[in-house]
Amino acid sequence: MAFLEKFMDMDRRWVYLLSWIFVLAPLLYPLGLPIPINQESIGWYNYIENIPAGSTVIFAPMYGTSGIPELFPMTVATMRHLWSRPIKVIVVTFWTEGALVFNILLGQVDPTSYGKVYGTDWIHLGYIPGSETAMASFARDITGTVSADFLRGQPTTSYPIMANIRTAPDIDLIISIETGTPGYTEWLRQWQAPYAVPMIVGLIGVSVPGIAPYIQSGQVSAYLPGLTSSAEYENLIHRPGLAVAGVDAVSMSHLMVVILVVLGNIAYFASRSSKGGKK
């Protein structure tokens, strides 16, 4: 039983090493495990696919560089999907780094390849400081709150896409990709409750449990929880990317966690019963 005691008390750096192995190995040598498509990603895909032609959508990358690993794949996939449809997209963010995160996306995805023209089919309004206050102001007066676009610094009212966009009721849908606050709660308080603008939310795993009541009540129409669902979504739009590339590593890392927890508990109970036997 001394072995069990040693096992339970082993240097945590062995666990760190195992984590490195279980993540790097499937990235270097992909297992090619199938990715079952689940209801969340189907719901997300169908919702975007069924947005009526000519609608105007707000796309809000509400995260910083810390959220890029988990949220960037779904951001890219969603923008590809939106740009492949005849809908107008207004990109805006209330997170300090959100605007530059979207610029990283522009370095990888070319909207002109979808036939989209900046200022007519889509626009990047950048970051608005002020969190929930900014969201409230934006709902009241869109072109007043953001008077110049982020990419060219021109007056927002000079762009055709903003011709009939003044207040929240002019927007047909909010798509928020987020990691925390400000996030869906603030969107619900400042856009959905007063103006009944529907919204769908892509979010990191840690935030997923909190959105459950809003999904059940219908306040949030669809959601995309984390990297695995991003991979499913990438497959649905037939553009496999970073999420698909990382899913094998998700599987192996989760397998490692399950094994560690199970082994830890077996060792714990075995050690406890052996101590009880010795008494």
Binding site: S19, P194, V261
Partner: protein, 219 residues
């Protein structure tokens, strides 16, 4: 005069007025009040944006003192000071002189320092969680066993290797999300809403003064 301006009642009064300006027009339409609320919502964003140097100055004061006194680890403070100043200056929105979000130094610092550092800082928690799960996650009693079981089933539900091997894992995970998790979070949401209302009422009554603390004794 100075003693009058120091009185704590002034900021409390300001808080109450600005709260009511936002709340009243939402329920009772009064045109001038509604216009004032909209104007203040836009106006306040400028006020907030101008506070941007508070964090910079706080950092410079703290680490500047370490630098000045040559305290232990002062060289790390030097690094903090240098990068704070450089990032702040090259990021100033003066495109006419080549500064701003398009500045090459700014972009280099953002893309090759801030992005990897920020991402890795949060990514490192994965190791700590794995180690903590191994060392501390034990089925010591009924409640701990429920947490353990729900946790493990959720982990299995999120990984394709498990859901492909045995598809009911996904259904179990969906059930845990939609029932006990939903029940817990609904109750927490309602409780948090009541807490926010209570906090707002206390603030409106001038009882809640925590946000005004600091700077010495209140008048």
């Amino acid at each position: 005069m100075s003693n009058l301006l120091r009185r704590i009642e002034i900021p409390i009064f300001i808080t109450i007025i600005f709260t009511l300006i936002q709340v009243i027009p939402y329920y009772v339409y009064i045109q001038p009040l509604d216009d004032a609320a909209a104007y203040i919502q836009r106006w306040i964003l400028i006020c907030l944006a101008l506070a941007t140097f508070v964090g910079v100055l706080s950092l410079l004061l703290t680490h500047g003192k370490n630098l000045q006194k040559r305290s232990k680890g002062w060289y790390f403070s030097a690094i903090v000071v240098v990068f704070t100043i450089v990032m702040s200056i090259v990021g100033l929105p003066l495109a006419e002189v080549g500064l701003g979000a398009a500045n090459p130094i700014y972009l280099f610092l953002y893309n090759n320092m801030l992005q990897p550092l920020s991402g890795t800082m949060y990514a490192i928690i994965a190791f700590f969680i794995a180690a903590a799960a191994f060392r501390a996650f034990r089925a010591r009693n009924v409640e701990a066993s429920i947490v353990l079981l729900a946790g493990i089933l959720m982990v299995c539900s999120n990984a394709p290797i498990f859901t492909v091997t045995w598809p009911p894992f996904k259904d179990i995970g969906t059930w845990i999300f939609a029932v006990p998790n939903m029940a817990t979070n609904r109750a927490i949401t309602i409780g948090a809403a009541l807490g926010l209302v209570a906090l707002a009422v206390r603030t409106l009554m001038g009882i809640e003064r925590g946000y005004l603390r600091g700077g010495g004794a209140e008048q």
